[in-house]
Symmetry: C2
């Protein structure tokens, strides 16, 4: 550290901070969280806290089911940094492993399980997937279409989120029983959202309904269940356009609500309209098949305020787990599980009938809707179950639902039957013959012919070769060894904050006391979670300088959306519902304008000046122009250019003066924690990407969490949740996620991070992050142009390398990015926020040696560029243009490059001893865009 | 499977078994263990069982200390198949990662912490390391030297094991207080074994004693403590020849006794006499530094009955953990831990003094010997401690010892003080000022100048660069990515049984209820362990067809040693102490004769016939010749040639007729389980390598466990243990390991294996293992000569490929082994049991595809050999001789081979997509043998 400070000609970190963080916003008081704890101490304390969660057998269902994570997947995927530390696979050449697994997810979910044809590589949860589907219908609707039907029998949380999303769209949403949906006036229905099986478990034949809808020009979206699809006719076969749902029960713990991978599957017609990321098959520079993210990747970056969705961070890690679960079990294994679950349900129905409890549905998969009028109300049954450590779902005063899953054992059914017996007779001994064993032999457990699935699925070899643990372990290992994660090298992605995801932070994620909790379990059973969340809220409020925090958003994008919704509600509450202008700097992340649009705002862009700051004059002009209608300003701090803007306080004051609220994008909190705060600066609301600043791993493209902190005046508008009625404010906006606290089971990561860092550590992290960035900027200056710096000449925690001057010599930022792969390095963020640049963020987790390694590589590449400029290397046929170099390319017999193989592969010496090989050559994007193939290619495609 | 059976022209597994397993020994009854359990069910059941273990705070010391395993090491090393599945690094080119870590262990332990100069890469436990040191002294003693002194103040279990080992040597062992050791008669003392700090914690200055001993020509062995050495003058600096000890407290859980890595460090004079494996620095075919096992590797294979030790499987994984712990903390971190522990001890002494309890030693490190006469006996104190969930060590009626460790917190000390207060006054409130906080400020916690360490240690950069989790994770990842383990490919090592180590079997190893138990904890606290061990004993007795089982031996070699000791005791008990001839087939594993010699027997060799069977005529002749003195026959079954000998019953009968006992080497149990049994065949004792047949991973060279099953007449002689008095028979031999049940914490792996396989699964595993071997043999026949087969023409679970015919063309088994690395494959066992051959054992864990992959590779290599035979390829300059090919060799600018780079690297197509690169070229063994360097080379050595 001393050496680094010396390079910067300062004597101490404190002195450096004085230069960099504007005095006007600097906070000198200590954070309130306690001092740091050692890792074993913290683990012990936290284990005790989570021990307060009580694991009851869950029959609640409602979209969350207990499941068995095969240990081979637990250990080699969920607990393996090679899987959980990488970033979204933008650098395809060093991401072929997870790209292949995500493609497996798409294939398994599509054509395959849902019976549609295409799918994306995950969305945040089933409810938002349904909302996305609705928005897609609206956005592609025809003139005159106004109505959107939502079935009454969907999961309540889905209805809530869809209602919430619809608020800002011009569409007439009607919650309606499927049998009452009216398609007689051809042309007025935008779409319909059904659930199959429905929330109380009923299975209906939607053939007629759907054909009527489609004849009337309506689109059809069906929320469905993947496990049900293994034995029931899949939703896609009814002719649905879109099928959404959750893949949670494919081996991903309930985790008090998440994270889980939701899916969005559709037929070919909508393929290019799908929100989120889609993996496709393209080819590489040598013509071999190679995978990449395809089509509308980061569409909001390109379309900005024309974007139809703000989804960015998704649920890649969980999609990969679900895919691995499917691969390990294979189609036959899945069918067995599906049949077993259905059989258990049948047996339970038979037993309950013998006890005098009728069930309401003729056809069902795993859920029974039980009439409890026999016992004078459902509460008695729920209580008897609770006494036996079981949770049921109360539907109303006279009925309950019970859902089975792959963990349900005969003993559980007997226990369940006993609870009903108890409620009825006060005695829980079961009559002879009324037990799971006897009942199984007397009950027909097959699926009724009317609904039985007749089509094959998952016939691709990848789903039929890895059913032994040995094979599965090797497949997981083979894939992960193709990917560059933090276990191999730094990932210096500006704005993404790829920091250490410490093992002690990750360990609790695998604890049953964290994973085995249903998000709708009674609050008395989740006291460990409640305590952790309250402490998190207090700590995050303190860190952000805000009044309070909502933990609901499960990604940064959702935080933005919720924050803006809250602002809109605030204005409305003030009688200023007309305030709808959202000012956003040109440099903003694409999610910002997308979120603004989704929350019903009109985007007005403001320019940046030459230093990378918001252009204050332009801002003033725009604010004044829109003063009456000003709703909000969205800014990022330090700016997306990596600069601590010194007039940020004035900016906030200006907005306030004109009646607006300031939304701060917290993606760059890693430069603020302990040094200044959004609240202190004057913002009113801010999201935190816990998967950036607070150590949740990126998981190869998610999960994440995006809680928002809000100032006092906005607190009343924070959302509640139907299953956590008092979690928000007293004038709450509607919920935006399916689970009350979204991805509860990864919150422990951030919690452990804060506890192990402590107040001093958190501040020190910001300081070192800033030091690292400035050290690197200093080393690279003279070799490259550093695009923006603050007034002091320093950068914040990241900086932009300008490569535009090389364009005239044919060298692009992409060439440099790909060439870095030849050095075992991941490229910095490419062409964002400025086209033609690379944005470097080292974070505090990197040592001087690793920072130097990146600098050395960049300097070496600069020399290689010079060779081209000087004409010593060919303009097109050079190490940069051909980068990255795979091993097979380097030793091909037909090598005919004007440079040596050694120069290609080992531009620096250390690489000889320690080489990470990209597994495909540079991706051919043009080809991929023209020929989108989004399902697994046949095996032969990989052979030459 | 059908396809494989078809290849063998049989219709079913049953039919195949009928052909292969001799009817005379075949068992058709089912194994008694229950039917198989699913993995989640088994984990649940086992968690409950282990929940019966109670974790008390341990102050017992005695060589076992609680410790903190840094999570980065837990997750990325102990829980990572890349570290725990590989084999002993015989194939150096694909083992550079763990070779480097083991070298770190040697360096850290040597010169470095113990202050000697060299060390080996681990032994089984401290007590056997002491016994090995004694044997080395005896074996290198001069004429006239007869006496070996062992200090009275060593750990009791060390004294016991040394006594046990000495029984069979011609040496006059005297347990003697150090001050009474007499070196006045120059020349009569072989050696002396001291402990520093001693078992009750005292630290004495041994300068004079040691110089007196050395002047008298005696060797000096000191058992010492690594953590003490960070702050105390290390044992090596007193002039000791050998320093032994345990590295357990360097991050390896106590685990109810093991596994832990013991060490053997010595000065240069004894370097070539060290037992066990030693890692050295050599160079590769291109002259670059490369690591390998050096010197007496597998010495017993070469020296057989001249071997001085039978050590084979050691404790590589645990040595790697300890090394990683040292690297992560670095010298300063270790010194801090050492000082903290010492400080806590000082504080405790001060507190106890204030409570009226005196401590007996002036100087100590972490252990106090407390006089309890103030309270009328030590039991009262022990009891008061137990009530507070603390374990002390009772020394005698009037004193106890308490040992501190890195987990001891001020609260623990207060709790301890309270217990003493309670015992004395019946009131546990501590007087003001008598608490850890107050006492720390008033106590001088520095080490007394007389003993303070003044020398530096661990100055090599490797110990000074990885103190952040990011760096440590990457270092661990960098090393493991150089090694080929089961996560990458099959490891078809004949006799080694490299099968799947399933994640569900490994998970319990990390549970605190498994790891945090002291081996000498009161039996009431370890009821989970007791239940598991009893079930294991019952199951293993059933599987082996024996009366009972001893879990004491912690490797196969130790099982052999104990089995033979038991046989010797049996003969002696029968008044036939003169029976000392042990007949061993030439084909036996080298540990057999070595163990025979160690247990005082005389080895007589018996030949094998052309079919690979024991030559019955020769055997009869030898047995008759030695009839009066016949002690035992040692045989392996199926034979080390991979054959089910059909006359094995007659062989056993012959031995019995002549008064001998049959020792069966159980290394090949993987072919027997459920099909036949050692007991059923007629053997009297047999060891099981749980790290072969019962799924304990090989850990890159250990840990292992080698329990023995014995027939009824031998059961009385099974050993007890001073800390488990009733665990053996009623005429017990002395204990052979430091902990009563050796490596308790890895027994769960085998336990889970048996439960998850169930009776049917265990049998099926044997059948599939045999099927796989026969399938491969069948595919390879016609390409290679298969050396031995049974009478039916089938092999057992492994088979020998004869390569001797290629020798005349210059091609050796080593060339084939190294060439296999170019196919991402690990070579089969080389030149054992027959020189010039490869022995292939696929195990049941491998799929037909993977078996085919090895066959395809071997067939391809056979083609490459043919090219040489046919003169199409050069005799010396060819793909085999230059194998393995590293990436840098393949793309070197100066490539001048007569074959292409692609042929070198990608002999088969799949390798292009999925290549595992050896990281160094073929090792230069001659160079390494001539220039043994066994400590870390300077960093520059790795640069060119
Ligand atoms: C500046 C900025 N804002 C918003 C986001 C969106 O966050 P998320 O990906 O969690 O939705 C990002 C993500 O990269 C970002 O960098
Ligand atoms: C036939 C045979 N016997 C004995 C042993 C020694 O066992 P261990 O290495 O556990 O000491 C081995 C080890 O490979 C073996 O193969
Ligand atoms: O390890 C062996 O010697 O087989």
């Amino acid at each position: 550290m001393k050496e680094m400070l010396k390079t910067l000609e300062v004597n101490s970190l404190d002195e450096l901070m004085e230069h960099i963080v504007p005095k006007s916003i600097r906070s000198y008081s200590e954070l309130k969280c306690p001092t740091n704890m050692g890792e074993s101490e913290a683990l012990e304390m936290f284990q005790e806290m989570m021990g307060k969660n009580e694991i009851y057998k869950s029959f609640i269902g409602s979209g969350y089911y207990d499941t068995i994570t095969p240990s081979v997947i637990l250990r080699n995927l969920l607990e393996n940094p090679a899987w959980y530390t990488p970033y979204t696979p933008y650098q395809a050449e060093i991401s072929q492993g997870r790209l292949e697994m995500l493609l497996n997810f798409q294939t398994m979910v599509v054509g395959d399980l849902t019976g549609t044809g295409f799918a994306n590589a995950s969305l945040l949860d089933e409810a938002t997937a349904a909302a996305e589907a609705m928005t897609m219908c609206i956005n592609t609707s025809k003139k005159g279409q106004t109505k959107f039907y939502v079935g009454t029998d969907l999961h309540p949380q889905t209805i809530e989120v869809v209602l919430s999303r619809a608020e800002h769209y011009d569409c007439d949403l009607e919650i309606c029983a499927p049998e009452n949906m009216d398609f007689s006036k051809a042309g007025d229905v935008i779409g319909v959202l059904l659930q199959y099986p429905n929330t109380t478990g009923a299975v209906f034949d939607y053939t007629e309904l759907i054909s009527a809808a489609k004849e009337a020009g309506s689109k059809v979206v069906v929320a469905s269940d993947l496990l049900a699809s293994t034995v029931l006719k899949p939703a896609g076969e009814f002719g649905s356009d879109v099928v959404v749902g959750s893949s949670q029960r494919f081996g991903v713990p309930m985790g008090f609500g998440g994270p889980h991978a939701a899916f969005f599957a559709c037929n070919q017609q909508f393929m290019r309209k799908m929100p989120g990321r889609v993996i496709g098959v393209s080819k590489d520079s040598r013509g071999r098949p190679a995978l990449r993210m395809t089509m509308q990747t980061r569409e909001q970056h390109i379309r900005r305020d024309k974007a139809t969705s703000n989804i960015c961070t998704a649920q890649a890690l969980l999609a990969n787990m679900a895919a691995a679960y499917g691969i390990y079990h294979g189609p036959d294994g899945l069918k067995n599980i599906g049949s077993k679950v259905h059989g258990m349900t049948k047996v339970t129905e038979a037993g309950l009938a013998k006890l005098g409890f009728g069930s309401k549905h003729a056809d069902y998969f795993d859920t029974l809707h039980i009439d409890t009028s026999a016992v004078n109300g459902s509460d008695a049954v729920v209580k008897a179950a609770l006494e036996r450590k079981m949770n049921l779902r109360k539907i109303d005063e006279n009925s309950v639902c019970v859902s089975m899953d792959e963990t349900t054992k005969p003993a559980d059914i007997n226990n369940l039957l006993s609870a009903f017996a108890m409620a009825k007779t006060g005695n829980d001994t079961l009559p002879t013959g009324v037990d799971a064993e006897s009942l199984s032999s007397s009950t027909d457990t097959t699926v009724s012919a009317k609904f039985a699935r007749s089509t094959e699925f998952m016939t691709h070899p990848v789903f039929n070769s890895h059913h032994s643990e040995t094979n599965m372990m090797r497949y997981l290992n083979k894939l992960s060894s193709k990917d560059l994660g933090l276990q191999t090298a730094m990932i210096p992605l500006g704005s993404c904050t790829m920091k250490l995801n410490a093992a002690s932070e990750m360990i609790p994620v695998s604890w049953p006391t964290v994973g085995k909790l249903h998000p709708f379990a009674p609050v008395e059973q989740v006291q460990g979670y409640m305590q952790m969340m309250q402490e998190m809220i207090d700590d995050l409020a303190d860190i952000t300088g805000f009044h309070t925090v909502s933990l609901q958003p499960n990604a940064g994008s959702q935080g933005e959306y919720l924050g803006l919704k809250v602002i809109a509600a605030y204005h409305k509450d003030n009688g200023e519902a007309h305030r709808n202008v959202c000012i956003i700097p040109v440099s903003a992340h694409g999610t910002n304008p997308a979120s603004a649009v989704m929350s019903g705002m009109r985007v007005v862009t403001v320019k940046c000046d030459d230093l990378g700051n918001v252009d204050f004059d332009d801002l003033t002009a725009k604010v004044e122009k829109h003063s009456d209608n000003l709703s909000a300003l969205m800014i990022t701090y330090p700016s997306t250019h990596g600069v601590f803007e010194s007039n940020v306080k004035e900016v906030c004051e200006l907005i306030h003066k004109h009646g607006g609220q300031v939304y701060m994008d917290g993606a760059n909190m890693n430069a603020q924690v302990g040094l200044c705060s959004p609240g202190g600066i004057g913002a009113d609301v801010c999201h935190l990407n816990l998967h950036k600043t607070f150590a949740i791993p990126h998981g190869g493209g998610g999960p994440g969490m995006g809680p928002i902190g809000v100032a006092k005046q906005l607190a009343p508008f924070l959302p509640n949740h139907i299953n956590a009625p008092n979690s928000g404010g007293d004038k709450p906006v509607r919920a935006i996620t399916a689970a009350p606290f979204s991805s509860g089971s990864i919150l422990p990561i951030s919690y452990m991070y804060i506890r192990m860092m402590g107040s001093d550590g958190l501040k020190l992290a910001s300081e070192v992050a800033i030091l690292n960035a400035n050290y690197m900027a200093e080393r690279l200056r003279g070799h490259f142009n550093i695009l923006y710096t603050g007034e002091s000449g320093f950068v914040a925690h990241e900086f932009i390398l300008d490569l535009r001057e090389f364009k005239k010599h044919g060298i692009t930022e992409e060439d440099v990015a790909k060439r870095l792969q030849d050095f075992n390095l991941h490229a910095p963020t490419m062409s964002w926020p400025v086209v033609g640049t690379l944005m470097v963020e080292p974070t505090e987790s990197e040592s001087m040696e690793e920072c130097d390694r990146l600098c050395d590589a960049l300097i070496k590449i600069r020399e290689e560029i010079q060779e081209i400029i000087d004409g010593k290397a060919d303009k097109d046929n050079n190490v940069l243009k051909h980068a990255p170099h795979t091993a097979d390319a380097c030793l091909a017999d037909d090598w005919d490059r004007p440079y040596s193989r050694e120069k290609a592969a080992y531009p620096l010496k250390y690489l000889v001893d320690n080489k990470f090989w990209p597994t495909v050559g540079r991706l051919d994007n043009v080809y991929g865009d023209r020929n989108p193939v989004c399902s697994c290619p046949p095996l032969e495609a990989y052979e030459d």
